[in-house]
Every structure is written in structure tokens, then in C-alpha cells.
């Protein structure tokens, strides 16, 4: 089935040690998003790609970076994770011709 896949589901990293989260999609959607979600709160948009065009939210810390090497893959890089970066990270896709997001299952990041 077409879907959005995030790897890994659970990631434990050390304080200050760079970490990369990955997302792949088989939907051929041209827009991909990264959200950060903390406990029982609404997802907070970090950035999104419209095709190769990168759009950063104004309040996204510089510590967070993203790469989209092709339509199918998108990566979230956290250069120096702090304790406050522990959260669920959600990848989502959408198409301009289709309403709504398709979300991956998320990556739960723990910083120790």
C-alpha cells in the first residue's frame, strides 16, 4: 500500500550528539512536512518542502535542518539535540490536488 514510512520508530540519542530521522513516501506527493509534537499537544510545523523548495518556519531553531534529495525521501537533522528536543517527530505528505495530510507513524526521540 502507498504510505509514509518513518525510520526509526524510536531513537535514543545523547545530549549534543547529531541525529538524523528519515521519512520516505510512495504517494508521489510533492509536498513533505516535518512536525514536532510534544505530549498531547497539536503538532508544530518545523518546515516543509514544496518539491525542492524549502520553507522554514520563522520559529524553528537553527539546530534543526532538513534535506530532500528526491521526491520520495526527506530527512530531519538535529545538529546538537538538547533535552527540550525530546518529542515525537512526524513526517507528512500532501498533494496540491488532494486535500489533507498523510502522516507517517512518527519517530519518538529521547535525549539522554
Amino acid at each position: 500500500d502507498a504510505m509514509v514510512i518513518q525510520n526509526p520508530r524510536y531513537q535514543v540519542t545523547q545530549f549534543g550528539k547529531p541525529v538524523t530521522l528519515s521519512c520516505s513516501q510512495t504517494l508521489n506527493h510533492n509536498v513533505m512536512y516535518w512536525y514536532q509534537q510534544k505530549s498531547s499537544q497539536a503538532p508544530k510545523l518545523l518546515f516543509h518542502y514544496y518539491d525542492k523548495d524549502f520553507n522554514n518556519e520563522a520559529d524553528t531553531p537553527d539546530n534543526f535542518q532538513s534535506r530532500r534529495p528526491n521526491t520520495s525521501f526527506c530527512f530531519l537533522d538535529i545538529r546538537s539535540p538538547g533535552l527540550g528536543d525530546a518529542a515525537m517527530y512526524l513526517c507528512a505528505t500532501s498533494s496540491r490536488t488532494v486535500y489533507g495530510y498523510t502522516f507517517g507513524s512518527g519517530t519518538r526521540l529521547t535525549v539522554v
Binding site: S40, A42, S94, G100, F103, G104, S105, R108
Partner: protein, 111 residues
Amino acid sequence: TQLLEQSPQFLSIQEGENLTVYCNSSSVFSSLQWYRQEPGEGPVLLVTVVTGGEVKKLKRLTFQFGDARKDSSLHITAAQPGDTGLYLCAGAILTGNQFYFGTGTSLTVIP
């Protein structure tokens, strides 16, 4: 500034009761979605409403889009424990690629 406000923020009810969740804004949306998210999982799209005044039913769930396309409601009839989760509304504006999430409603249905 939060574009979409949901109420209530938390809701705990007994199995079999009815409930309504509201999603309100002062902005006009071209479409609005409702998602349900279970713990440890990503949100799952339940419905998309597009036309002002539109009503959609999904089994025991009824979704309504306001006439002015600024608000929406989700009504659940005879709630079941399986309805437990975080309910999120998200609106799309006419321009841009982004959907704006509401503040979320955490629902617990007690058996």
C-alpha cells in the same frame, strides 16, 4: 497566535455518552480536516469538508463545516473506548501549502 482553537481541550466521558468537539477560527478556510491520533502513532485523517454548511457522517461520527467556512464541529454518538485519542482539526487557507492545526482535544472514553 493560534489560528484554530478547539474546545474542550480535555474530555472524559462514560461509554455510551454523546459528545461534541468544536473547532473555531476567525479565518476562512478552503477546506478543513479532522484527524484522530492514538498514543504513539501519527494522526489519521478522518474526513475532509470543503463546502460551507457541509455535513458528513462516518458511522457514529458527524462532521459539520460552518456556513462561513470558519468553524467546524465533530459529534460522536454513543462513544466507545475505541474512540479514545487526540482529535485534531486542521484548516487549509486558499493560498499556501500548509494546513493549520487546531489546539487539539484529548478524549477519554471510560468503559
